[in-house]
């Protein structure tokens, strides 16, 4: 080794000494500030720190049907979390845990890695533990440092009604969503929140209120005793009774089995919805977290779209039920005499055009008056007479009945639908790309650009059945009744419409004769529609109402791509009405 003389400079020695003194004195200064000057504050904070505040939970409110049958219940499960820093030997503890909770070690390690957030933050490693498993872990408490469990209720659905879209589901809130939620409900990331349907709409009522337990802990973090003086108890959420009749819902559901579509039944006098079916459907328990990725993808990719609540968010052309809008305009403005007849030859050629517009009955209906035009749904009658109405009058009347706007039923994500007006046509077809006469030929049949939801059809039929004064549709039994805006027309208009709808079902050639009730003298009023659409077979519609024991009920049946309204939707409506008036609950209630 080459020996080199050290020539360290006293200046360098002093420079390093200065750095040493400076850094250590600045540290000591900070310690002095914290420990002597700011002592009181930190000391009082440390006194509180040995008392832990534990959040306590209570069950979420149940959802019941109108007769008290439980539709959505809770069952207690536990989730298991570990705090990585407090684990003494992860491998040994996981091995013991895996034999108790019956999940293999590999899976536990996988979840631990997946959900690991930090050494001091609880990591969820298992869900849906039973009380027995928890008791077993509790017995061996000292062997599991760093392992905790929390109660977490899961929703359980009545087995026969586990696929009702309107019930909705719960979802875990994530960190990013929490700040956007109602502060007073005290959400924390990972907690469940109503995310769809009734669960979302009535979140505030259904959600429990959190409580706080103060406990003193020892050196192991074990509870020494509860300081019960300042505890805030947790309160369960309120139970919610729905207007739904569980039996009727089950029956309507079974009758739509294998079809796509929607059934709605309501009490016209109160706005209560007795049944709301959307088909195809899916088991709501897929949201409980045990669903595999494949099952999920199947649900999402299914072209029949089972996740969609067709009753409020499915958009369809309306079909000939909107002929009634034309009828109202015709009589209200005295444009035709209801007893005047037109000749239906099966073909209509608008003046100045060569296009042929055909009636659904190719050989024609012969002489047709207003009543027959409604009952047999004659197209030619309405092609001719709609020429007397202006587009604005027609769309205004349609909008008066609640089309083009949500019905405000108490469910989230309702669709508006569409009644195209002048602005719409100018915007979409250009100033000269359409003619008022031409579009009215489509509109009067409820075709063209018109889109409605089944629940809008329900509101429409309720307006007719109540002659203009009908309460808002609702699912919450205890919600106060409020009315839609009153629709005022002379009684004779309602009479003409009622007469026509009576004949639809009860006259010999009525298009909805298949809905006739054989076993009862209750008379059904109705209107069929066969809504043409570019996606295949026409949508089959039936809307109707009936009086039974001083109460008016209404029904909407829609079968997506089902075919003719008379052939497909009418018999379904008839069956459902027949079932309902004969069901014991209905009889007992009245």
């Amino acid at each position: 080794m080459l020996k080199i003389e050290n020539k360290a400079d006293i200046f360098h020695y002093r420079a390093l000494l200065f750095i040493l003194c400076f850094s250590l004195f600045s540290l000591l200064g900070r310690y002095f500030y914290l420990q002597v000057i700011d002592f009181e504050r930190h000391f009082s904070k440390s006194q509180v720190n040995s008392v832990k505040a534990l959040t306590t939970y209570a069950p979420r409110g149940l959802i019941l049907d109108r007769h008290g049958e439980i539709l959505v219940d809770n069952y207690p499960t536990y989730i298991l979390t570990v705090t990585p820093h407090d684990l003494e030997d992860r491998d040994i503890e996981f091995e013991k845990l895996s034999s108790i909770i019956d999940i293999d070690l590999e899976e536990l390690n996988r979840r631990y890695k997946k959900y690991y957030r930090g050494r001091f933050l609880p990591t969820t490693i298992a869900k849906n533990l039973t009380f027995q498993q928890i008791s077993q872990i509790e017995e061996m408490r000292l062997e599991f440092p760093g392992v905790q469990y929390e109660r977490s209720d899961e929703r359980i659905y009545s087995p026969i009604l586990n696929d009702a879209h309107f019930l909705g589901y719960l979802r875990e809130v994530d960190r990013d969503t929490v700040p956007k939620l109602d502060k007073t409900l005290l959400y924390r990331a990972g907690e469940l929140i109503g995310w769809q349907g009734i669960e979302k709409e009535y979140e505030k009522e259904l959600r429990f209120s959190k409580g706080v337990d103060y406990i003193e802990v020892d050196t192991y973090g074990r509870e020494i005793f509860r300081l019960s003086d300042n505890n805030i108890p947790a309160f369960p959420g309120k139970d919610l009774s729905l207007t739904i009749d569980a039996n009727l819902q089950r029956f309507s559901r079974s009758i739509l089995e294998g079809k796509k579509g929607s059934v709605l039944v309501s009490n016209v006098d109160t706005g209560e919805i007795l049944s709301m079916v959307s088909s195809p459907s899916y088991d709501l328990s897929v949201y409980r977290g045990t669903t595999s990725e494949n099952e999920w993808n199947d649900l999402l990719k299914n072209k029949d779209n089972p996740l969609l609540n067709r009753s409020i968010a499915g958009l369809y052309p309306a079909g000939s039920k909107l002929k009634l809008i034309t009828v109202i305009d015709l009589i209200a403005n005295s444009l035709v005499d209801p007893s005047d007849s037109l000749m239906c030859t099966g073909v209509y050629i608008p003046p100045g055009s060569t296009n042929e517009f055909r009636c659904w009955q190719e050989e024609g209906h012969g002489l047709v008056d207003l009543n027959k035009a409604i009952a047999q749904s004659c197209n030619i009658y309405f092609y001719e007479t709609v020429q007397l109405i202006s587009l604005k009058d027609w769309t205004d009347t349609a909008k008066k009945f609640g089309f083009n706007e949500p019905t405000n039923v108490d469910l989230p994500n309702e669709k508006d639908g569409l009644i195209p007006d002048k602005d719409f046509y100018v915007k979409n077809y250009g100033r000269w790309g359409w003619s008022e006469r031409g579009v009215l030929l489509n509109l009067t049949l409820g075709q063209g650009d018109i889109l409605i939801t089944p629940i809008q059809a329900l509101r429409f039929i309720n307006h007719i059945a109540s002659r203009g004064v009908t309460p808002q549709l609702r699912l919450n039994l205890s919600k106060e009744i409020s009315y839609y805006e009153k629709i005022e027309y002379p009684e004779k208009i309602w009479d003409h419409i009622w007469d026509g709808m009576y004949d639809v079902v009860n006259a010999d050639l009525g298009s909805g004769w298949r809905a006739r009730l054989d076993s009862s003298d209750i008379k059904l009023f109705g209107k069929t529609s066969t809504a043409e659409n570019p996606h295949g077979e026409p949508h089959a519609w039936f809307i109707g109402f009936f009086d039974a024991q001083d109460t008016t009920y209404s029904i909407v049946v829609m079968v997506e791509n089902g075919g003719g309204g008379g052939a497909v939707a009418s018999p379904i409506a008839g069956d459902i009405v027949e079932y309902y008036i004969n069901s014991s609950k209905f009889l007992a209630e009245n």
Binding site: D9, I10, L34, F43, S50, T219
Partner: protein, 405 residues
Amino acid sequence: MFLDQFASGTTKDSVIRLFFIIAGLIFFSLVTLYSISDDPLSFNSSFYRQCIFLIFSSIVFFVVKNIPIKIIHDNSTLIFIGTLILCIIPFFLPRVEYTYRWIDLGFFYIQPSEYLKCATVVVVAKYLSNHQLEVKDNSIIIIPCLLTLLSASIVLNQPDLGTAVIIFAPLLPMLLWAGVSNFTIFLMIAPIITILAASNIIFFTVWAFIMFCFFLTFQASVVNKTILYFANIFTGLLTPFLWNNLADYQKQRILTFLNPDLDPMGSAYHIIQSITAIGSGGLFGKGWGAGSQTQLKFLPVQESDFILSVIAEEFGFFGISCVMLLCFLLIKTLLDIAFRSSDYFASLVIVGLASILLSHIFINSAMTIGLMPVKGLPIPFISAGGSFLLSCFIMIGLVINFSKN
């Protein structure tokens, strides 16, 4: 200067003093570990393990103490490369706690980057001592910088930001000690300050002006000075883009450090609990084994990263002052030995090791009182942990070994 008075006495006195100082620190360590162990005499307690590590480390210490300095000097490059390879091995092993820092020996985890710190100091010292005559030449700094950068970048990828910072710490003191010109030293510090100042336009402007004044006073060609000056300014302007390249957890730590109240149960949890523990200790502390924060386990990683907080809670400001005094004396004694050493290489190594120890002390304490982001760096001789204790003993072994001539 009165501080020079401590430098009086012989190197032999200093070595004896060193033994007493380290014994004092270890005493504090064991007393504290005994207090926080649930069952101090069981094999799994940190107290018991630390005792075993102490015995093992002492043996290694005596071995290192007696290796002839010539062997270390001549083989320093080999030692450096060997340690570097050890640091790369974990990348090919399964991860431990989500990082590539440790090699699992079954009974014991070894963290090779601990020894890379010493090896880098030794290899840099050897280079500087071999090129002592060119020390006034600016290009002398290139090789030491590259060596340090190489070590640091491997450690940074493990990832271990704390140790990477520590690897950089001895560079400037050693260059200063070696006699590199003040201008060169300034050129090395300037970019760091530039980057720190870049976050704020006012700081940056003031710093640009100060830097301009400095450049005026130094003697170098105008062209060189202009280029260097603007290189600094550009670095400052680029900093915001570099910031975006940091890992999320690194950004998170820095941001949490700037505003600890942001996320009280997340990353700032450590700092808040630590400050509460320290502050509640008061002048004389809550007494041995009576610290409520510590004993109730509100204080995290209390046996290593946050052991100073335990001392502060249980023994108060008085206890912390004793620890700080011991730390001061430790570094001071090392500097004394380095100053008096007749050998250039030995002197440089000792200054480098002293810098490592001081940065550990500073960063660890600053972290416990919220002056620095949480780095996970232990404090020498006090924190529990076998790998680190061993490396501290090796450092002191080298110092005593090198002080002999």
